[in-house]
């Protein structure tokens, strides 16, 4: 006990001097963030995600799979074949699948039930890797989300199934585990923080969740690929030192429901271009 108190008193004085030094850190950081803002602005001038959108649009209208049908009967929640505004109301509960689904799992569902792909075929390349291993799902997602630009997010969080997933997702958000004790909240639970030079949205607040969720999927320049929200979660957990999040799993949809639901009200702005 004595020892702990000593530690704490000592830690407090150390922290006070660190806070004094923080002023210098902030001054240095300002010019850096200005330049980073300039960098992001210059990137926004041309977003290669448009190349994915074009490919996805072609895929959406073309007959595919063993049944040689297009996505014209695929219901994303607004009726068969309706793409306009569809992403802004996902995830939602689909009675035909008896499940809450996000965009990516719904696309897989349509490929399997409408087009005749097996589940394995439909999910064999969910995250693309260069032109030799490109992902149809990423292209389809890029197209579908582009048709929700400017549409206010309105995930049906009051629907009981979605509500349940939302609450489970919230618990997951705070779940600390792994070798490094990380939870989503470790990096995304506070205002005005950044990792390296990347601003970290505070996802516990509506503004933070809105800003983050409405810009995914995104073209990641570090990868030269369009990445979906399923990928975003998968890669966050990799960096959290967790095992691998299964594509389309309940946990992935619960967390998506939580974050998408918190983004309600904000206009959808993806696909964005990011570092």
């Amino acid at each position: 006990m004595m020892q702990t108190k000593l530690h704490r008193a000592f830690a407090a004085t150390l922290f006070a001097s660190a806070a004094a030094m923080a002023t210098i850190g902030v001054a240095l950081a300002d010019s850096t963030s200005d330049e980073i803002a300039k960098y992001r602005e210059a990137l926004a001038e041309g977003n290669p995600a448009e190349l994915w959108e074009a490919r996805g649009e072609e895929m959406w209208t073309k007959p595919r799979g063993s049944k040689q049908v297009s996505f014209k009967r695929c219901d994303l929640g607004l009726g068969p074949g309706v793409v306009k505004g569809a992403y802004a109301q996902l995830p939602r509960y689909f009675p035909d699948a008896k499940r809450v689904m996000d965009l990516e799992t719904r696309l897989v569902h349509c490929m399997v039930t409408e087009q005749g792909y097996t589940e394995k075929e439909a999910t064999k390349n969910v995250f693309g890797n260069g032109s030799a291993h490109r992902s149809d799902l990423e292209a389809l997602a890029a197209y579908v989300v582009s048709q929700s630009k400017g549409v206010a997010m309105h995930v049906p969080v009051d629907e009981p199934h979605v509500r349940d997933m939302y609450r489970l997702g919230e618990k997951m958000f705070y779940y600390r585990g792994g070798t490094h004790d990380f939870a989503c909240a470790t990096c995304h639970g506070d205002d005005g923080k950044r990792i390296r030079l990347q601003d970290l949205p505070n996802l516990t607040k509506v503004e933070g969740a809105q800003k983050a969720y409405t810009t995914w999927p995104a073209y990641r320049v570090s990868q030269g690929e369009v990445r979906t929200f399923q990928w975003r979660l998968n890669d966050c957990f990799r960096q959290q030192r967790f095992p691998e999040l299964i594509f389309g799993s309940d946990a992935s949809i619960a967390l998506t429901a939580y974050l998408a639901g918190r983004a309600n009200g904000a206009p959808y702005e993806g696909p964005a271009i990011k570092r």
Binding site: P48, R55, G130
Partner: protein, 103 residues
């Protein structure tokens, strides 16, 4: 075959502003795969932009141009409805030509 380019050509005052995105790996030849094998260079070497029958920009690129290249520039004497045609050729002699109408 390579994917189509995304070309925008817009009249701004008396100039036509061209913005183009190309779908290409732009592999440098400096990277290694998971097995430690060098991934061979594969990149666009020549780009040519035509306005009707006139060359308005000709470029030579090395592998240091970013993946899925972006290019923006302006030229004079374009009119709404005119064609802008862009061609690239890569080091595998693969080529792609796309056109856009000035809006």
């Amino acid at each position: 075959m390579a994917d189509p380019m995304k070309i925008r050509a817009n009249l701004v005052g008396d100039e036509t502003e061209v913005k183009v995105l190309m779908s290409h790996e732009m592999e440098t030849g400096q990277r290694k795969d998971a097995q430690g094998k060098v991934i061979p260079a594969w990149f666009i070497q020549n780009v040519k932009v035509m306005h009707n029958d006139k060359v308005v920009l000709a470029a030579q690129w090395g592998p240091a141009v970013s993946k899925n290249p972006f290019l923006s520039f302006k030229f004079k004497d374009g009119a709404k409805g005119d064609k802008v045609t862009i061609t690239w050729v890569d080091n595998h002699n693969d080529t792609r030509t796309d056109e856009a109408t000035i809006a």
